[in-house]
Protein backbone atom coordinates (compact mmCIF):
# COMPACT_ATOMS: atom_id res chain seq x y z
CA UNK A 1 0.00 0.00 0.00
CA UNK A 2 2.78 2.41 0.89
CA UNK A 3 4.52 1.50 -2.34
CA UNK A 4 1.33 2.32 -4.21
CA UNK A 5 1.17 5.69 -2.57
CA UNK A 6 4.81 6.47 -3.24
CA UNK A 7 4.71 5.47 -6.88
CA UNK A 8 1.38 7.14 -7.53
CA UNK A 9 2.57 10.27 -5.76
CA UNK A 10 5.80 10.41 -7.74
CA UNK A 11 4.03 10.11 -11.04
CA UNK A 12 1.31 12.62 -10.24
CA UNK A 13 3.89 14.97 -8.82
CA UNK A 14 6.00 14.83 -11.97
CA UNK A 15 3.07 15.73 -14.16
CA UNK A 16 2.16 18.67 -11.97
CA UNK A 17 5.79 19.72 -11.75
CA UNK A 18 5.99 19.98 -15.53
CA UNK A 19 3.02 22.31 -15.60
CA UNK A 20 4.00 24.31 -12.56
CA UNK A 21 7.56 25.03 -13.68
CA UNK A 22 6.38 26.68 -16.86
CA UNK A 23 3.88 28.80 -15.00
CA UNK A 24 6.44 29.78 -12.38
CA UNK A 25 8.98 30.76 -15.02
CA UNK A 26 6.75 33.27 -16.72
CA UNK A 27 5.60 34.74 -13.44
CA UNK A 28 9.09 35.07 -12.12
CA UNK A 29 10.53 36.63 -15.24
CA UNK A 30 7.70 38.83 -16.38
CA UNK A 31 5.22 39.00 -13.50
CA UNK A 32 2.53 37.60 -15.77
CA UNK A 33 0.00 35.25 -14.25
CA UNK A 34 -0.74 33.14 -17.27
CA UNK A 35 -4.04 31.48 -16.49
CA UNK A 36 -4.11 30.17 -20.03
CA UNK A 37 -1.11 27.93 -19.33
CA UNK A 38 -3.13 24.76 -19.05
CA UNK A 39 -5.21 25.84 -22.02
CA UNK A 40 -2.04 25.62 -24.13
CA UNK A 41 -1.54 22.18 -22.68
CA UNK A 42 -5.02 21.33 -23.94
CA UNK A 43 -4.35 22.72 -27.41
CA UNK A 44 -1.21 20.62 -27.60
CA UNK A 45 -3.22 17.52 -26.72
CA UNK A 46 -5.71 18.26 -29.47
CA UNK A 47 -2.92 18.84 -31.97
CA UNK A 48 -1.49 15.45 -31.16
CA UNK A 49 -4.91 13.86 -31.46
CA UNK A 50 -5.45 15.51 -34.81
CA UNK A 51 -2.04 14.49 -36.12
CA UNK A 52 -2.27 10.89 -35.00
CA UNK A 53 -5.91 10.30 -35.84
CA UNK A 54 -6.68 12.30 -38.91
CA UNK A 55 -3.28 12.43 -40.47
CA UNK A 56 -1.88 9.13 -39.32
CA UNK A 57 1.41 10.59 -38.23
CA UNK A 58 3.65 8.69 -35.84
CA UNK A 59 2.99 9.80 -32.22
CA UNK A 60 6.51 11.09 -31.57
CA UNK A 61 6.47 13.24 -34.72
CA UNK A 62 3.02 14.44 -33.76
CA UNK A 63 4.33 15.49 -30.36
CA UNK A 64 7.20 17.45 -31.84
CA UNK A 65 4.89 19.16 -34.29
CA UNK A 66 2.43 19.95 -31.52
CA UNK A 67 5.10 21.46 -29.30
CA UNK A 68 6.38 23.72 -32.07
CA UNK A 69 2.90 24.74 -33.16
CA UNK A 70 1.67 25.49 -29.66
CA UNK A 71 4.78 27.49 -28.82
CA UNK A 72 4.17 29.61 -31.90
CA UNK A 73 0.53 30.10 -30.95
CA UNK A 74 1.61 31.05 -27.46
CA UNK A 75 4.05 33.63 -28.71
CA UNK A 76 1.46 35.11 -31.04
CA UNK A 77 -1.11 35.34 -28.26
CA UNK A 78 1.46 36.95 -26.03
CA UNK A 79 2.39 39.52 -28.65
CA UNK A 80 -1.18 40.38 -29.56
CA UNK A 81 -3.00 40.26 -26.28
CA UNK A 82 -0.70 40.35 -23.30
CA UNK A 83 2.28 42.48 -24.25
CA UNK A 84 0.27 45.67 -24.84
CA UNK A 85 -1.36 45.53 -21.42
CA UNK A 86 1.45 44.24 -19.25
CA UNK A 87 1.29 47.26 -17.00
CA UNK A 88 -2.16 46.47 -15.65
CA UNK A 89 -1.85 43.28 -13.65
CA UNK A 90 -5.57 42.76 -13.29
CA UNK A 91 -6.07 43.24 -17.01
CA UNK A 92 -3.44 40.60 -17.76
CA UNK A 93 -5.25 38.12 -15.58
CA UNK A 94 -8.52 38.76 -17.36
CA UNK A 95 -6.85 38.64 -20.74
CA UNK A 96 -5.35 35.26 -20.06
CA UNK A 97 -8.70 33.94 -18.88
CA UNK A 98 -10.28 35.25 -22.06
CA UNK A 99 -7.58 33.61 -24.17
CA UNK A 100 -8.15 30.34 -22.36
CA UNK A 101 -11.90 30.58 -22.93
CA UNK A 102 -11.39 31.42 -26.56
CA UNK A 103 -9.17 28.39 -27.04
CA UNK A 104 -11.67 26.18 -25.29
CA UNK A 105 -14.42 27.38 -27.56
CA UNK A 106 -12.35 26.93 -30.69
CA UNK A 107 -11.53 23.38 -29.66
CA UNK A 108 -15.21 22.79 -28.91
CA UNK A 109 -16.18 24.03 -32.35
CA UNK A 110 -13.59 21.99 -34.21
CA UNK A 111 -13.68 18.80 -32.22
CA UNK A 112 -17.07 18.97 -30.38
CA UNK A 113 -17.41 17.98 -26.77
CA UNK A 114 -16.84 14.27 -27.30
CA UNK A 115 -14.17 12.57 -25.27
CA UNK A 116 -11.14 11.66 -27.32
CA UNK A 117 -7.90 9.92 -26.62
CA UNK A 118 -4.41 9.52 -27.96
CA UNK A 119 -2.46 6.28 -28.36
CA UNK A 120 0.23 5.48 -25.83
CA UNK A 121 3.83 5.59 -26.91
CA UNK A 122 4.58 2.38 -25.15
CA UNK A 123 1.94 -0.18 -24.41
CA UNK A 124 1.99 -2.66 -21.57
CA UNK A 125 2.86 -2.52 -17.96
CA UNK A 126 5.43 -3.47 -15.43
CA UNK A 127 4.83 -5.31 -12.20
CA UNK A 128 6.93 -4.25 -9.22
CA UNK A 129 6.28 -5.99 -5.93
CA UNK A 130 2.63 -6.45 -6.74
CA UNK A 131 2.09 -2.95 -8.06
CA UNK A 132 1.27 -2.57 -11.73
CA UNK A 133 2.70 0.48 -13.44
CA UNK A 134 2.01 1.22 -17.05
CA UNK A 135 5.12 1.86 -19.15
CA UNK A 136 3.60 5.12 -20.28
CA UNK A 137 3.52 6.31 -16.68
CA UNK A 138 7.18 5.42 -16.22
CA UNK A 139 7.92 7.28 -19.41
CA UNK A 140 6.08 10.31 -18.10
CA UNK A 141 8.05 10.22 -14.89
CA UNK A 142 11.34 9.85 -16.72
CA UNK A 143 10.62 12.59 -19.22
CA UNK A 144 9.45 14.93 -16.49
CA UNK A 145 12.71 14.53 -14.63
CA UNK A 146 14.64 14.97 -17.85
CA UNK A 147 12.87 18.19 -18.69
CA UNK A 148 13.26 19.54 -15.21
CA UNK A 149 16.96 18.82 -15.43
CA UNK A 150 17.00 20.51 -18.81
CA UNK A 151 15.31 23.63 -17.53
CA UNK A 152 17.64 23.75 -14.57
CA UNK A 153 20.64 23.52 -16.88
CA UNK A 154 19.20 26.20 -19.09
CA UNK A 155 18.71 28.54 -16.22
CA UNK A 156 21.99 27.96 -14.46
CA UNK A 157 24.43 27.39 -17.25
CA UNK A 158 23.42 29.51 -20.21
CA UNK A 159 23.40 33.22 -20.86
CA UNK A 160 19.72 33.17 -21.69
CA UNK A 161 19.08 31.51 -18.38
CA UNK A 162 21.13 34.16 -16.66
CA UNK A 163 19.08 36.86 -18.30
CA UNK A 164 15.86 35.19 -17.22
CA UNK A 165 17.01 34.83 -13.65
CA UNK A 166 18.20 38.42 -13.55
CA UNK A 167 14.93 39.74 -14.90
CA UNK A 168 13.09 37.64 -12.36
CA UNK A 169 15.06 39.15 -9.53
CA UNK A 170 14.80 42.77 -10.53
CA UNK A 171 13.32 43.88 -13.79
CA UNK A 172 14.50 47.43 -13.83
CA UNK A 173 18.07 46.78 -12.89
CA UNK A 174 18.30 43.98 -15.43
CA UNK A 175 17.11 46.46 -18.02
CA UNK A 176 19.77 48.89 -16.87
CA UNK A 177 22.36 46.17 -17.23
CA UNK A 178 21.60 45.96 -20.89
CA UNK A 179 19.23 42.98 -21.09
CA UNK A 180 16.30 43.70 -23.34
CA UNK A 181 13.60 43.07 -20.79
CA UNK A 182 10.73 42.65 -23.19
CA UNK A 183 12.69 40.24 -25.34
CA UNK A 184 13.57 38.21 -22.30
CA UNK A 185 9.90 38.13 -21.41
CA UNK A 186 9.07 36.89 -24.88
CA UNK A 187 11.70 34.16 -24.72
CA UNK A 188 10.48 33.11 -21.31
CA UNK A 189 6.95 33.01 -22.61
CA UNK A 190 8.09 30.77 -25.41
CA UNK A 191 9.86 28.41 -23.04
CA UNK A 192 6.91 28.42 -20.68
CA UNK A 193 4.37 27.57 -23.37
CA UNK A 194 6.77 25.02 -24.78
CA UNK A 195 6.90 23.34 -21.40
CA UNK A 196 3.12 23.32 -21.23
CA UNK A 197 2.99 21.73 -24.67
CA UNK A 198 5.60 19.19 -23.62
CA UNK A 199 3.53 18.36 -20.59
CA UNK A 200 0.57 17.85 -22.87
CA UNK A 201 2.55 15.62 -25.17
CA UNK A 202 3.81 13.43 -22.40
CA UNK A 203 0.73 13.26 -20.24
CA UNK A 204 -2.00 13.13 -22.83
CA UNK A 205 -1.85 9.38 -23.54
CA UNK A 206 -2.81 8.85 -19.93
CA UNK A 207 -5.82 11.11 -19.90
CA UNK A 208 -9.01 11.82 -21.77
CA UNK A 209 -9.02 14.81 -24.12
CA UNK A 210 -11.97 17.17 -24.03
CA UNK A 211 -12.38 20.94 -24.27
CA UNK A 212 -12.74 21.38 -20.52
CA UNK A 213 -9.68 19.45 -19.50
CA UNK A 214 -7.73 22.59 -18.73
CA UNK A 215 -9.71 23.74 -15.71
CA UNK A 216 -8.85 21.01 -13.25
CA UNK A 217 -5.07 21.09 -13.78
CA UNK A 218 -5.23 24.88 -13.59
CA UNK A 219 -6.60 24.80 -10.08
CA UNK A 220 -3.98 22.30 -8.98
CA UNK A 221 -1.23 24.21 -10.66
CA UNK A 222 -2.23 27.45 -8.98
CA UNK A 223 -2.30 25.69 -5.64
CA UNK A 224 1.15 24.31 -6.29
CA UNK A 225 2.82 27.56 -7.29
CA UNK A 226 1.20 29.47 -4.47
CA UNK A 227 2.19 26.76 -2.01
CA UNK A 228 5.74 26.71 -3.26
CA UNK A 229 6.04 30.44 -3.55
CA UNK A 230 5.35 32.41 -6.70
CA UNK A 231 8.40 32.91 -8.80
CA UNK A 232 10.46 30.24 -7.10
CA UNK A 233 11.21 27.22 -9.28
CA UNK A 234 12.47 25.19 -6.36
CA UNK A 235 9.21 25.96 -4.63
CA UNK A 236 7.07 24.85 -7.55
CA UNK A 237 9.02 21.64 -7.78
CA UNK A 238 8.58 20.93 -4.08
CA UNK A 239 4.97 21.99 -4.11
CA UNK A 240 4.19 19.72 -7.04
CA UNK A 241 5.46 16.66 -5.27
CA UNK A 242 3.86 17.59 -1.96
CA UNK A 243 0.45 17.95 -3.54
CA UNK A 244 1.03 14.90 -5.72
CA UNK A 245 1.60 12.81 -2.62
CA UNK A 246 -1.33 14.45 -0.85
CA UNK A 247 -3.53 13.42 -3.74
CA UNK A 248 -2.44 9.79 -3.61
CA UNK A 249 -2.80 9.70 0.13
CA UNK A 250 -6.39 10.87 -0.20
CA UNK A 251 -7.18 8.28 -2.83
CA UNK A 252 -5.66 5.41 -0.92
CA UNK A 253 -6.63 6.24 2.61
CA UNK A 254 -10.06 7.54 1.80
CA UNK A 255 -11.39 5.59 -1.17
CA UNK A 256 -14.87 6.87 -0.52
CA UNK A 257 -13.60 10.40 -0.69
CA UNK A 258 -11.42 10.20 -3.78
CA UNK A 259 -13.27 13.10 -5.32
CA UNK A 260 -12.10 15.33 -2.51
CA UNK A 261 -8.51 15.46 -3.73
CA UNK A 262 -9.02 18.95 -5.14
CA UNK A 263 -10.43 20.33 -1.92
CA UNK A 264 -7.74 18.70 0.21
CA UNK A 265 -4.96 20.08 -1.96
CA UNK A 266 -6.39 23.58 -1.77
CA UNK A 267 -6.88 23.36 1.97
CA UNK A 268 -3.24 22.42 2.38
CA UNK A 269 -2.34 25.43 0.31
CA UNK A 270 -4.41 27.76 2.47
CA UNK A 271 -2.95 26.32 5.65
CA UNK A 272 0.57 26.87 4.45
CA UNK A 273 -0.28 30.40 3.39
CA UNK A 274 -1.65 31.16 6.82
CA UNK A 275 1.65 30.25 8.35
CA UNK A 276 3.92 31.61 5.64
CA UNK A 277 2.17 34.13 3.39
CA UNK A 278 4.87 33.96 0.74
CA UNK A 279 4.64 30.22 0.31
CA UNK A 280 7.37 27.75 1.19
CA UNK A 281 10.23 29.13 -0.83
CA UNK A 282 8.82 32.41 -1.96
CA UNK A 283 10.52 35.67 -1.30
CA UNK A 284 8.47 38.34 0.36
CA UNK A 285 8.84 41.27 -2.01
CA UNK A 286 8.38 44.71 -0.79
CA UNK A 287 5.56 46.34 -2.68
CA UNK A 288 7.02 47.77 -5.82
CA UNK A 289 6.16 51.42 -5.73
Amino acid sequence: MILDIIISGLINGSVYALLAIGFSLIYGAARIVNLAHTAFYMVASYCIYFATHKMGVHPVLAMLAAIILVTLIGLVCYRLFIDPIREHEAAVLIATIAVAMAMQEIMLIIFTGDYLSVPSLVKGYLGIIGVKIAYQQLLTFGVALLILAGVWTLLKKTRVGLAIRATAQDREVANLMGMNESRVAMITMGISVGLAAFAGAVVVPLTVVNPHMWMHPLIFMLAIVVLGGLGSLKGSFAGAYILGFAESLVVFLLPMGAFLKGSVALSIMILVLLIRPEGLFGVAFEEER
Binding site: H88, I219, L222, S263, P277, E278
Partner: protein, 346 residues
Amino acid sequence: MGILGIYLRKLYTLFRGEVLVLPSRIVVFLFFVVLLFLPVVTQDPYLLRILILTSIFAILAASWDLLSGFTGQMNFGHALFFGVGAYTAALLNLHVHIPPYGSIALGGLAAVLAGLIIGIPCLRLRGTYLALTTLAFPIILMGIVFAIPGITGGELGVSGLSRLSSSRLYDYYITVVLMLGLCTIMWKITDSKTGIIFHAIREDELAVRTAGINTTRYKLLAFSLSGFFAGISGGLYAHFMRIAGPSTLEVSMSFTVVIWAVFGGIVTIYGPIGAVFILFPLLEFLRFWPEFRMLMFAVVILLILLYMPDGFLPWVRDKIEKECPRCKVRNVATRKTCRVCTAQLD
Protein backbone atom coordinates in the same frame (compact mmCIF):
# COMPACT_ATOMS: atom_id res chain seq x y z
CA MET B 1 -52.16 74.02 -6.03
CA GLY B 2 -49.78 76.91 -5.69
CA ILE B 3 -47.51 75.07 -3.31
CA LEU B 4 -47.46 72.03 -5.55
CA GLY B 5 -46.53 74.26 -8.45
CA ILE B 6 -43.67 75.77 -6.48
CA TYR B 7 -42.35 72.37 -5.55
CA LEU B 8 -42.66 71.10 -9.08
CA ARG B 9 -40.79 74.10 -10.37
CA LYS B 10 -38.10 73.59 -7.75
CA LEU B 11 -37.82 69.97 -8.79
CA TYR B 12 -37.53 71.02 -12.39
CA THR B 13 -34.77 73.55 -11.68
CA LEU B 14 -32.94 70.97 -9.64
CA PHE B 15 -33.34 68.49 -12.44
CA ARG B 16 -32.10 70.89 -15.03
CA GLY B 17 -29.20 72.01 -12.92
CA GLU B 18 -28.02 68.68 -11.69
CA VAL B 19 -29.07 65.96 -14.05
CA LEU B 20 -29.40 67.46 -17.51
CA VAL B 21 -26.03 69.06 -17.18
CA LEU B 22 -23.94 65.98 -17.76
CA PRO B 23 -24.58 63.23 -20.29
CA SER B 24 -23.53 60.53 -17.86
CA ARG B 25 -26.12 61.65 -15.37
CA ILE B 26 -28.74 61.75 -18.10
CA VAL B 27 -27.86 58.19 -18.95
CA VAL B 28 -28.24 57.11 -15.34
CA PHE B 29 -31.56 58.92 -15.10
CA LEU B 30 -32.82 57.30 -18.29
CA PHE B 31 -31.60 53.95 -17.00
CA PHE B 32 -33.72 54.32 -13.87
CA VAL B 33 -36.71 55.50 -15.86
CA VAL B 34 -36.55 52.80 -18.52
CA LEU B 35 -36.15 50.00 -16.01
CA LEU B 36 -38.96 51.19 -13.82
CA PHE B 37 -41.42 51.95 -16.59
CA LEU B 38 -40.63 49.12 -19.00
CA PRO B 39 -43.58 46.97 -17.95
CA VAL B 40 -45.91 49.76 -19.10
CA VAL B 41 -44.66 49.21 -22.64
CA THR B 42 -44.27 45.46 -22.73
CA GLN B 43 -44.75 42.57 -20.35
CA ASP B 44 -43.13 39.88 -22.44
CA PRO B 45 -42.17 37.26 -19.82
CA TYR B 46 -38.99 36.29 -21.67
CA LEU B 47 -37.74 39.86 -21.69
CA LEU B 48 -38.63 40.31 -18.04
CA ARG B 49 -36.81 37.10 -17.19
CA ILE B 50 -33.66 38.35 -18.90
CA LEU B 51 -33.85 41.67 -17.08
CA ILE B 52 -34.46 40.02 -13.73
CA LEU B 53 -31.42 37.82 -14.12
CA THR B 54 -29.42 40.80 -15.32
CA SER B 55 -30.38 42.79 -12.25
CA ILE B 56 -29.43 39.95 -9.94
CA PHE B 57 -26.03 39.61 -11.58
CA ALA B 58 -25.63 43.39 -11.59
CA ILE B 59 -25.84 43.41 -7.79
CA LEU B 60 -23.27 40.62 -7.75
CA ALA B 61 -20.87 42.41 -10.06
CA ALA B 62 -21.20 45.70 -8.21
CA SER B 63 -20.47 43.95 -4.92
CA TRP B 64 -17.31 42.49 -6.42
CA ASP B 65 -16.21 45.93 -7.47
CA LEU B 66 -16.77 47.23 -3.97
CA LEU B 67 -14.26 44.75 -2.65
CA SER B 68 -11.76 44.22 -5.39
CA GLY B 69 -11.98 47.44 -7.27
CA PHE B 70 -12.04 49.89 -4.42
CA THR B 71 -10.04 48.10 -1.80
CA GLY B 72 -7.76 46.42 -4.27
CA GLN B 73 -8.20 42.99 -2.70
CA MET B 74 -8.51 40.90 -5.83
CA ASN B 75 -11.22 38.42 -5.08
CA PHE B 76 -11.28 35.54 -7.54
CA GLY B 77 -13.72 33.50 -5.53
CA HIS B 78 -16.74 35.77 -5.50
CA ALA B 79 -18.91 32.80 -6.34
CA LEU B 80 -18.43 31.77 -2.71
CA PHE B 81 -20.66 34.59 -1.47
CA PHE B 82 -23.16 33.98 -4.23
CA GLY B 83 -23.33 30.27 -3.46
CA VAL B 84 -23.47 30.73 0.32
CA GLY B 85 -26.28 33.23 -0.05
CA ALA B 86 -28.17 30.97 -2.44
CA TYR B 87 -27.80 27.79 -0.42
CA THR B 88 -28.59 29.46 2.91
CA ALA B 89 -31.72 31.08 1.55
CA ALA B 90 -32.72 27.80 -0.05
CA LEU B 91 -32.15 25.65 3.03
CA LEU B 92 -33.88 28.10 5.35
CA ASN B 93 -36.80 28.37 3.01
CA LEU B 94 -37.16 24.65 2.49
CA HIS B 95 -36.62 23.33 6.00
CA VAL B 96 -37.59 26.16 8.30
CA HIS B 97 -40.21 27.62 5.95
CA ILE B 98 -38.97 31.17 6.21
CA PRO B 99 -40.53 33.26 3.43
CA PRO B 100 -38.29 34.74 0.74
CA TYR B 101 -37.79 38.19 2.24
CA GLY B 102 -36.51 36.57 5.42
CA SER B 103 -34.44 33.83 3.85
CA ILE B 104 -32.75 36.19 1.40
CA ALA B 105 -31.78 38.60 4.18
CA LEU B 106 -30.45 35.73 6.25
CA GLY B 107 -28.63 34.46 3.18
CA GLY B 108 -26.95 37.84 2.98
CA LEU B 109 -25.90 37.61 6.62
CA ALA B 110 -24.52 34.11 6.10
CA ALA B 111 -22.48 35.45 3.24
CA VAL B 112 -21.15 38.17 5.56
CA LEU B 113 -19.97 35.42 7.86
CA ALA B 114 -18.31 33.73 4.90
CA GLY B 115 -16.73 37.05 4.05
CA LEU B 116 -15.19 37.29 7.48
CA ILE B 117 -14.04 33.69 7.38
CA ILE B 118 -12.12 34.20 4.17
CA GLY B 119 -11.16 37.77 4.96
CA ILE B 120 -9.17 36.91 8.02
CA PRO B 121 -6.68 34.53 6.39
CA CYS B 122 -6.42 36.88 3.44
CA LEU B 123 -5.33 39.86 5.51
CA ARG B 124 -1.70 38.98 5.21
CA LEU B 125 -1.76 38.20 1.53
CA ARG B 126 -1.15 40.49 -1.35
CA GLY B 127 -1.88 40.65 -5.03
CA THR B 128 -1.64 37.36 -6.84
CA TYR B 129 -1.44 35.27 -3.69
CA LEU B 130 -4.69 36.81 -2.54
CA ALA B 131 -6.35 36.24 -5.88
CA LEU B 132 -5.37 32.61 -5.99
CA THR B 133 -6.31 31.91 -2.40
CA THR B 134 -9.75 33.43 -2.82
CA LEU B 135 -10.08 31.24 -5.90
CA ALA B 136 -9.65 28.21 -3.68
CA PHE B 137 -12.51 28.84 -1.27
CA PRO B 138 -15.52 28.21 -3.50
CA ILE B 139 -13.86 25.03 -4.75
CA ILE B 140 -13.41 23.77 -1.21
CA LEU B 141 -17.01 24.62 -0.45
CA MET B 142 -18.12 22.77 -3.54
CA GLY B 143 -16.23 19.72 -2.32
CA ILE B 144 -18.05 19.98 1.00
CA VAL B 145 -21.38 20.36 -0.80
CA PHE B 146 -20.73 17.13 -2.66
CA ALA B 147 -19.55 15.40 0.49
CA ILE B 148 -22.79 15.94 2.39
CA PRO B 149 -25.43 15.43 -0.26
CA GLY B 150 -28.00 14.58 2.38
CA ILE B 151 -28.23 18.20 3.40
CA THR B 152 -27.08 20.06 0.35
CA GLY B 153 -28.63 17.87 -2.32
CA GLY B 154 -25.26 17.16 -3.96
CA GLU B 155 -25.22 18.06 -7.61
CA LEU B 156 -28.97 18.27 -7.76
CA GLY B 157 -28.99 21.21 -5.43
CA VAL B 158 -31.87 22.28 -3.25
CA SER B 159 -35.09 22.55 -5.17
CA GLY B 160 -38.73 23.20 -4.53
CA LEU B 161 -38.25 26.68 -3.14
CA SER B 162 -41.10 29.13 -2.93
CA ARG B 163 -41.28 31.84 -5.53
CA LEU B 164 -40.13 35.39 -5.02
CA SER B 165 -43.67 36.63 -5.53
CA SER B 166 -46.88 35.59 -7.16
CA SER B 167 -46.26 36.91 -10.63
CA ARG B 168 -43.46 37.63 -13.05
CA LEU B 169 -44.26 41.34 -12.92
CA TYR B 170 -43.88 41.54 -9.14
CA ASP B 171 -40.66 39.53 -9.41
CA TYR B 172 -39.41 42.07 -11.88
CA TYR B 173 -40.20 45.06 -9.71
CA ILE B 174 -38.79 43.47 -6.58
CA THR B 175 -35.48 42.67 -8.25
CA VAL B 176 -35.16 45.93 -10.16
CA VAL B 177 -36.04 48.11 -7.19
CA LEU B 178 -33.72 46.10 -4.97
CA MET B 179 -30.97 46.39 -7.53
CA LEU B 180 -31.35 50.12 -7.93
CA GLY B 181 -31.57 50.56 -4.18
CA LEU B 182 -28.61 48.38 -3.23
CA CYS B 183 -26.44 49.81 -5.97
CA THR B 184 -27.26 53.32 -4.85
CA ILE B 185 -26.27 52.33 -1.33
CA MET B 186 -23.00 50.90 -2.63
CA TRP B 187 -22.42 54.09 -4.58
CA LYS B 188 -23.04 56.14 -1.44
CA ILE B 189 -20.62 53.99 0.51
CA THR B 190 -17.89 54.66 -1.98
CA ASP B 191 -18.67 58.34 -1.86
CA SER B 192 -18.32 58.52 1.91
CA LYS B 193 -15.40 58.63 4.30
CA THR B 194 -15.30 54.84 4.26
CA GLY B 195 -15.05 54.97 0.50
CA ILE B 196 -12.09 57.31 0.63
CA ILE B 197 -10.33 54.95 2.99
CA PHE B 198 -11.03 52.07 0.59
CA HIS B 199 -9.48 54.08 -2.25
CA ALA B 200 -6.50 54.81 -0.04
CA ILE B 201 -6.02 51.19 0.96
CA ARG B 202 -5.88 50.24 -2.67
CA GLU B 203 -3.34 52.87 -3.53
CA ASP B 204 -0.95 52.48 -0.66
CA GLU B 205 -1.87 50.47 2.37
CA LEU B 206 1.28 51.22 4.29
CA ALA B 207 0.66 54.94 4.09
CA VAL B 208 -2.89 54.47 5.37
CA ARG B 209 -1.58 52.51 8.33
CA THR B 210 0.94 55.20 9.13
CA ALA B 211 -1.91 57.69 9.12
CA GLY B 212 -3.32 55.80 12.08
CA ILE B 213 -6.22 54.06 10.39
CA ASN B 214 -6.88 50.45 11.27
CA THR B 215 -6.76 48.95 7.80
CA THR B 216 -7.60 45.49 9.08
CA ARG B 217 -10.95 46.70 10.22
CA TYR B 218 -11.66 48.42 6.94
CA LYS B 219 -10.56 45.46 4.88
CA LEU B 220 -12.79 43.17 6.86
CA LEU B 221 -15.57 45.72 6.44
CA ALA B 222 -15.07 45.61 2.71
CA PHE B 223 -15.20 41.81 2.70
CA SER B 224 -18.35 41.83 4.79
CA LEU B 225 -20.20 44.45 2.77
CA SER B 226 -19.25 42.79 -0.47
CA GLY B 227 -20.36 39.47 0.96
CA PHE B 228 -23.65 40.89 2.14
CA PHE B 229 -24.69 42.29 -1.21
CA ALA B 230 -23.47 39.25 -3.08
CA GLY B 231 -25.33 37.00 -0.66
CA ILE B 232 -28.53 38.89 -1.29
CA SER B 233 -28.12 38.46 -5.00
CA GLY B 234 -27.52 34.75 -4.37
CA GLY B 235 -30.72 34.48 -2.38
CA LEU B 236 -32.68 36.30 -5.08
CA TYR B 237 -31.24 33.96 -7.68
CA ALA B 238 -32.20 30.88 -5.68
CA HIS B 239 -35.76 32.03 -5.24
CA PHE B 240 -36.19 33.16 -8.80
CA MET B 241 -34.82 29.98 -10.33
CA ARG B 242 -36.46 28.00 -7.50
CA ILE B 243 -33.35 25.90 -7.22
CA ALA B 244 -29.94 26.46 -5.60
CA GLY B 245 -27.32 24.18 -7.04
CA PRO B 246 -23.53 23.73 -7.17
CA SER B 247 -23.50 25.76 -10.39
CA THR B 248 -23.62 28.82 -8.12
CA LEU B 249 -20.18 27.96 -6.75
CA GLU B 250 -18.41 27.18 -9.98
CA VAL B 251 -15.07 28.72 -10.90
CA SER B 252 -16.61 29.95 -14.12
CA MET B 253 -19.09 32.01 -12.11
CA SER B 254 -16.23 33.71 -10.25
CA PHE B 255 -14.40 34.37 -13.50
CA THR B 256 -17.52 35.69 -15.20
CA VAL B 257 -18.07 38.23 -12.43
CA VAL B 258 -14.48 39.42 -12.73
CA ILE B 259 -14.79 39.68 -16.50
CA TRP B 260 -17.97 41.74 -16.26
CA ALA B 261 -16.47 44.09 -13.74
CA VAL B 262 -13.25 44.60 -15.62
CA PHE B 263 -15.12 45.04 -18.89
CA GLY B 264 -17.32 47.68 -17.36
CA GLY B 265 -14.56 49.41 -15.48
CA ILE B 266 -13.33 48.67 -11.97
CA VAL B 267 -13.23 51.30 -9.23
CA THR B 268 -16.59 52.56 -10.30
CA ILE B 269 -19.82 51.05 -9.16
CA TYR B 270 -21.69 51.88 -12.32
CA GLY B 271 -19.11 50.13 -14.48
CA PRO B 272 -19.95 46.54 -13.55
CA ILE B 273 -23.67 47.31 -13.55
CA GLY B 274 -23.49 48.71 -17.05
CA ALA B 275 -21.32 45.82 -18.16
CA VAL B 276 -23.82 43.23 -16.97
CA PHE B 277 -26.65 45.09 -18.66
CA ILE B 278 -24.73 45.12 -21.91
CA LEU B 279 -23.12 41.69 -21.84
CA PHE B 280 -25.76 39.44 -20.37
CA PRO B 281 -28.51 40.29 -22.86
CA LEU B 282 -25.88 40.25 -25.61
CA LEU B 283 -24.90 36.75 -24.64
CA GLU B 284 -28.55 35.79 -24.72
CA PHE B 285 -29.10 37.37 -28.14
CA LEU B 286 -26.10 35.53 -29.49
CA ARG B 287 -27.96 32.33 -28.75
CA PHE B 288 -28.64 32.09 -32.44
CA TRP B 289 -25.04 31.24 -33.10
CA PRO B 290 -24.52 28.71 -30.32
CA GLU B 291 -21.14 27.60 -31.57
CA PHE B 292 -19.64 31.05 -31.70
CA ARG B 293 -21.33 32.58 -28.71
CA MET B 294 -18.68 32.12 -26.06
CA LEU B 295 -15.94 32.70 -28.60
CA MET B 296 -17.35 36.09 -29.54
CA PHE B 297 -17.70 36.86 -25.86
CA ALA B 298 -14.04 36.07 -25.24
CA VAL B 299 -12.96 38.08 -28.27
CA VAL B 300 -15.00 41.08 -27.16
CA ILE B 301 -13.31 40.90 -23.78
CA LEU B 302 -9.86 40.78 -25.35
CA LEU B 303 -10.60 43.77 -27.59
CA ILE B 304 -11.87 45.78 -24.67
CA LEU B 305 -8.76 44.99 -22.68
CA LEU B 306 -6.52 46.02 -25.53
CA TYR B 307 -8.15 49.28 -26.44
CA MET B 308 -9.97 50.31 -23.31
CA PRO B 309 -7.94 48.96 -20.40
CA ASP B 310 -9.77 51.05 -17.85
CA GLY B 311 -13.04 49.56 -18.85
CA PHE B 312 -15.69 50.23 -21.42
CA LEU B 313 -17.87 52.64 -19.48
CA PRO B 314 -15.09 54.90 -18.23
CA TRP B 315 -13.81 55.03 -21.84
CA VAL B 316 -17.20 56.10 -23.10
CA ARG B 317 -17.47 58.57 -20.26
CA ASP B 318 -14.12 60.09 -21.13
CA LYS B 319 -15.26 60.56 -24.68
CA ILE B 320 -18.43 62.40 -23.79
CA GLU B 321 -17.22 64.40 -20.81
CA LYS B 322 -14.26 66.57 -20.09
CA GLU B 323 -12.77 67.57 -16.78
CA CYS B 324 -12.09 71.25 -16.16
CA PRO B 325 -8.38 71.80 -15.50
CA ARG B 326 -9.03 74.48 -12.92
CA CYS B 327 -11.98 73.37 -10.80
CA LYS B 328 -11.99 69.67 -11.62
CA VAL B 329 -15.71 69.64 -12.32
CA ARG B 330 -16.92 67.49 -15.20
CA ASN B 331 -18.44 69.08 -18.26
CA VAL B 332 -19.97 67.92 -21.50
CA ALA B 333 -17.24 67.35 -24.06
CA THR B 334 -18.78 69.77 -26.52
CA ARG B 335 -18.46 72.75 -24.22
CA LYS B 336 -15.70 75.29 -24.75
CA THR B 337 -15.72 76.72 -21.23
CA CYS B 338 -16.34 75.21 -17.85
CA ARG B 339 -19.89 75.58 -16.59
CA VAL B 340 -18.78 76.46 -13.07
CA CYS B 341 -15.58 78.47 -13.27
CA THR B 342 -15.70 79.52 -16.92
CA ALA B 343 -12.13 78.40 -17.50
CA GLN B 344 -11.10 77.33 -20.98
CA LEU B 345 -11.58 73.61 -21.70
CA ASP B 346 -9.12 72.55 -24.33
